[in-house]
C-alpha cells in the first residue's frame, strides 16, 4: 500500500540508516569519554582529550541520532497522517545529504577545537548557517505537506511536529548570534550573565523541542499503531500540548540557580518547572490509560514494552527534573554527577527507547521484510534498560555522596573535605558508569545487527503490508 500511495519512503530509509550510524558513534564516544574520566591516561591530546570529545558525544547523540531519526519519522508520519505524498522528495534527498555533511563536519571541527563553547550550540558559524538552511528546507517540506493534506483533521502527533519545527528555529537563531573573527572562530553576541541566560533558555528548550516534543509525536503515533488501540483521551492530549509548549519556555534559568542571573528569573524558572509536572504526566497517563485491558500486550507484542518503559522513564524524568529545579535541592546536587545520571535517563531511557521501537516498527514496513529476530529485539531491550539503569543509578549515588562530602563542615565551620578528597571517591562510580555504558553499547550493536539482517532478508510478509 505504501508504494501505491507513492509515499517518499526512500529518504526515510536514508535517515534511519544514518541515524543508526551516528547513534553508534555517539554511544561509543560516550563509553570512551566515561573511561577517560576514570583513567586520565586515556586522554590523547590535542585531538582526543575529554574536553574536545565530550561535545562530539553530545552532538552526535542529540543531532546525529536524535534529530536524524526524528527527520526520518516526521517524514514518515506526516505523509501517513495527512494521507499525502511528501511535498518535495527531491528537497528531502538534499536534506539527507546536507544533514550528513553537517554532522560529519561537526565531528571534525570539534575535534580540531573549533567550538563556541555553549552547550549543544558549539558549532562555529559556517556550520550553524548550514543548520539554519537544513532546518528551513525540512520545515517547509513538512509544513507544505500538512497544508496540502487530504485528511482534514490533524492528529496530535502533527501538533508536536509543528511545535518542534517552530521552536527549534526560534531557539537556534537567537542563541547562535555571534561576532565572526575568522571562518573558524567567533564570539557570542551576548556577554556574561546575559549570555548564560540566553544559553540556558536555549539549552533547556532544546530538551523541550528536540528531546520531548518529537518523541511525544512518535509515541502518540506508534503506540496506537503497534497496539491497535486508540489514545485514551484526545482532550487530555490537547490540554497537555498547549500547556507544555507554554510552560517550557519559562524554565531555562533552573540551570542557573544561585548564579548572578536575577533572582526573579530563577524563581519563575523554579515555579514553572514544578508546574510542568502536570502536562508531562498528562502524556504519561494518556499512554497508561490507553493500555487499559491491553496490558497483556506487554508480553505478547515485542514493541509495546519499549513504549511503556519509555513513557515511564519520561514520567520519572519529569518528576526528577522539577525536583532538581528547586533552589534548595539544586544547591545540594547541581554540578555533581547526579545531573549526568538524570540526563541519561531521559536520553537513553525515554528518547532512545521510543526511537528504537519506531525503527523496529517502520523498517519491516518500508522494506517489505519481516523482522529478522524477535528474541534479539528482546535481548536488545533488556540490555539497553539494564545498561541505562546501571549508568543512572550509579551517577545518582555518586552525586549524593560528592554533594554530601562537599558540604560537610567541621565544628569550627571549616570544610571537612578538600575537593580532591571528594574526587577520589568518585573513581569507583566512574568505573560503574563505564560498565553501564558498555552494556548499552552492546545493546546498540545487537540492534543494528538485527536491523541490517532484517533489511537484507528475503522474506516479505503479507501481514505487515496491511499497515
Amino acid at each position: 500500500m505504501n508504494q501505491k500511495e507513492g509515499y517518499a519512503d526512500e529518504v526515510v530509509k536514508g535517515f534511519i540508516t544514518w541515524s543508526l550510524v551516528w547513534g553508534v558513534v555517539a554511544v561509543l564516544l560516550g563509553v570512551v569519554i566515561s573511561l577517560q574520566l576514570a583513567y586520565p591516561q586515556l586522554n590523547l591530546p590535542p585531538y582526543l582529550s575529554y574536553g574536545r570529545l565530550r561535545p562530539i558525544h553530545t552532538n552526535a547523540g542529540i543531532f546525529g541520532w536524535g534529530v536524524g531519526s526524528f527527520m526520518a519519522f516526521f517524514i514518515y508520519v506526516t505523509q501517513r497522517l495527512t494521507k499525502t505524498k511528501l511535498w518535495s522528495p527531491g528537497l528531502a534527498k538534499f536534506q539527507l545529504w546536507l544533514f550528513n555533511v553537517i554532522i560529519a563536519s561537526a565531528a571534525v571541527t570539534l575535534m580540531l577545537g573549533m567550538t563556541r563553547s555553549k552547550e549543544y550550540a558549539e558549532l562555529e558559524w559556517p556550520i550553524a548557517l548550514l543548520i539554519v538552511v537544513l532546518w528551513v528546507i525540512f520545515s517547509i517540506n513538512i509544513i507544505m505537506t500538512i497544508i496540502k493534506r487530504k485528511e482534514e483533521q490533524m492528529y496530535i502527533s502533527l501538533w508536536y511536529i509543528m511545535a518542534a519545527l517552530i521552536g527549534v528555529a526560534v531557539l537556534y537563531l537567537v542563541n547562535n548570534a555571534g561576532i565572526p573573527v575568522s571562518l573558524t572562530k567567533s564570539y557570542s553576541a551576548y556577554a556574561g550573565a546575559n549570555d548564560a541566560n540566553v544559553q540556558w533558555w536555549y539549552g533547556h528548550n532544546a530538551v523541550a523541542m528536540v528531546l520531548t516534543a518529537p518523541p511525544l509525536a512518535l509515541f502518540y503515533y506508534f503506540l496506537p499503531k503497534s497496539t491497535g488501540v486508540p489514545i485514551y483521551s484526545h482532550r487530555m492530549g490537547v490540554i497537555a500540548f498547549w500547556s507544555l509548549i507554554f510552560m517550557y519556555l519559562w524554565t531555562g534559568a533552573h540551570h542557573l540557580l544561585w548564579t548572578p542571573v536575577p533572582d526573579w528569573v530563577q524563581t519563575l524558572a523554579m515555579a514553572f518547572s514544578v508546574m510542568l509536572i502536570a502536562p508531562s504526566w498528562a502524556s504519561v497517563f494518556n499512554g497508561y490509560f490507553s493500555m487499559n485491558g491491553q496490558w497483556h500486550q506487554m508480553r505478547e507484542n515485542y514493541l509495546v514494552k519499549f513504549f511503556i518503559f519509555g513513557i515511564t522513564f519520561y514520567g520519572l524524568q519529569t518528576i526528577q527534573g522539577p525536583s532538581q529545579a528547586v533552589r534548595t535541592f539544586s544547591a545540594f546536587i547541581h554540578y555533581t554527577d547526579w545531573v549526568p545520571g538524570h540526563v541519561h535517563m531521559g536520553t537513553l531511557g525515554w528518547v532512545s527507547l521510543i526511537i528504537f521501537a519506531s525503527i523496529y516498527y517502520v523498517v519491516p514496513r518500508i522494506y517489505g521484510k519481516e523482522i529478522y529476530s524477535i528474541p534479539l529485539v528482546n535481548l536488545h531491550f533488556w540490555l539497553a534498560v539494564t545498561g541505562q539503569l546501571i549508568f543512572s543509578i550509579t551517577m545518582w549515588i555518586a552525586g549524593v555522596q560528592q554533594a554530601t562530602m562537599l558540604n560537610a563542615t567541621n565544628s569550627d565551620g571549616s570544610l571537612h573535605y578538600s575537593f580532591m578528597e571528594t574526587l577520589v571517591e568518585m573513581y569507583p562510580y566512574w568505573y560503574g558508569r563505564a560498565f553501564g555504558g558498555i552494556i548499552y553499547f552492546v545493546s546498540m550493536l545487537i540492534f543494528v545487527y538485527n536491523i541490517v539482517k532484517t533489511v537484507n532478508g528475503n522474506s516479505t510478509n503479507a501481514a505487515i503490508k496491511k499497515a
Binding site: Q36, L37, P40, N43, P45, S49, G51, R52, R54, G113, M114, T115, R116, S117, E152, Q153, M154, L158, W159, I166, G167, V170, V174, I179, V181, S182, K185, S188, Y190, A191, G192, N194, A196, N197, Q199, W201, I245, F246, L249, W250, T251, W258, T259, P260, P262, V265, L268, A269, T336, N407, T409, D412, G413, S414, L415, F419, M420, E421, L423, V424
Partner: protein
C-alpha cells in the same frame, strides 16, 4: 477547530512559545545591564589573557570546570567570594559551565603562583597525584597571534601595538596561565577575606606529639606539591629550616601570602587542622 487550520495553529504555537521567551529571556537583559551592577575595578582582557581564554574554550575546559561561585557556605569557603554580575561583562561567551568534575575556577586567579600552574598544566598528577585531569604539555608550543588584533577589535577591548608585539615568543601555556591568573582577581576579595581571619594564636597542641601524624598527612596532601615531601621546597620555598614562631606559621597557613602566591587554607582546613600542620612543621625544624 484549530486542528483543521495548520497556518493559524503554527502562528498560535509561535505566540505561545514567545510569551515565556519574552519574560524570561528578553526582559532580563534590562536587569542584568543595570548600570548600578557595574564594577569599576573589572577590566577587559589583555591580548595575552584573551588568547589564553580562547585556548581554554578550544580545549573545552568548561566541560569540567565551572566559573561561578554560588552564595552558599561550602562554595564560598572552598572557592572564595560569591560571583557578581559585574564581573562577567567582558565574557563573550560566558564560561560558567554545568559540571564540576574539577574545581570551580571563578576565583583561581592569584591563588597559586605562575610556576604552580605551569607545572600543573604540563603534568597535573605531578602536583595532585590522583587528579583525573588530562596532561596539557602540548600547550608549550608557540602562540598563534595572527588573529589577536582582530579579536581585540571584535570585542572592543583596548590594546596597543606594543602589547601585541610583546606576544611574540609567548607559548600557548603562557597565555593560558595569564588568563587563569586574571580570573576573579579584579575585585580585591582576597584582601578583605584575609583581614577577618585572625583569632587566638596560642598553639593548642604545643608539645602534643600525638597530632604529628595527622599534621604530616595533611601536609602531604595540601602542601607537599609546592614545598616538597621532604620540606626542601619546589614551587614554594624550603620549610626545612625556617626559624619562625608558631603564631607566624599559623597566620601564614590560615590567611596565605597573596603577593607571594601562598594560598589561604583557613576556610578549607579550619583552625584545628592548621595548628596540627604548624606543629608538624615545628617538629621538623633542624634546631
Amino acid at each position: 477547530m484549530l486542528e483543521k487550520k495548520p497556518v493559524i495553529f503554527l502562528l498560535l504555537a509561535t505566540v505561545v512559545i514567545l510569551i515565556g521567551t519574552a519574560v524570561t529571556m528578553i526582559a532580563p537583559f534590562k536587569w542584568i545591564n543595570d548600570p548600578k551592577l557595574k564594577i569599576a575595578e573589572v577590566k577587559p582582557y589583555t591580548a595575552l589573557q584573551l588568547e589564553g581564554r580562547d585556548i581554554y574554550i578550544r580545549e573545552g575546559c568548561n566541560n569540567c570546570h565551572t566559573q561561578t561561585v554560588r552564595p552558599l557556605l561550602a562554595d564560598v569557603e572552598r572557592y572564595g567570594e560569591y560571583s557578581k554580575v559585574g564581573e562577567f561583562i567582558y565574557d563573550q561567551p560566558h564560561l560558567w559551565g554545568s559540571r564540576r568534575t574539577g574545581p570551580d575556577l571563578a576565583r583561581i586567579g592569584g591563588k597559586y603562583p605562575d610556576a604552580w600552574h605551569l607545572k600543573h598544566m604540563v603534568d597535573p598528577q605531578s602536583m595532585v597525584p590522583r587528579s583525573n585531569m588530562p596532561k596539557y604539555a602540548f600547550l608549550q608550543r608557540p602562540l598563534d597571534t595572527s588573529l589577536t588584533e582582530k579579536k581585540m577589535k571584535a570585542l572592543k577591548f583596548p590594546s596597543t601595538p606594543a602589547e601585541l608585539a610583546a606576544l611574540t615568543g609567548k607559548s600557548e601555556l603562557d597565555a593560558m596561565v595569564a588568563y587563569l591568573q586574571k580570573l576573579g582577581s579584579d575585585i580585591p576579595w582576597r584582601k578583605s577575606a584575609q583581614a577577618a581571619v585572625l583569632g587566638d594564636l596560642k598553639n593548642p597542641f604545643l608539645d602534643n606529639k600525638t597530632v604529628l601524624p595527622e599534621g604530616k598527612a595533611i601536609y602531604e596532601k595540601e602542601c607537599a606539591q609546592c614545598h616538597g615531601a621532604d620540606l626542601k621546597g619546589g614551587v614554594g620555598p624550603s620549610l626545612a629550616d625556617m626559624d619562625k614562631p608558631d603564631s607566624y606559621i599559623f597566620k601564614t597557613l590560615f590567611g596565605g601570602i597573596p603577593a607571594g602566591g601562598m594560598p589561604a587554607f583557613g576556610d578549607s582546613l579550619g583552625k584545628d587542622r592548621i595548628w596540627k600542620v604548624a606543629s608538624f612543621l615545628k617538629s621538623r625544624q633542624a634546631h
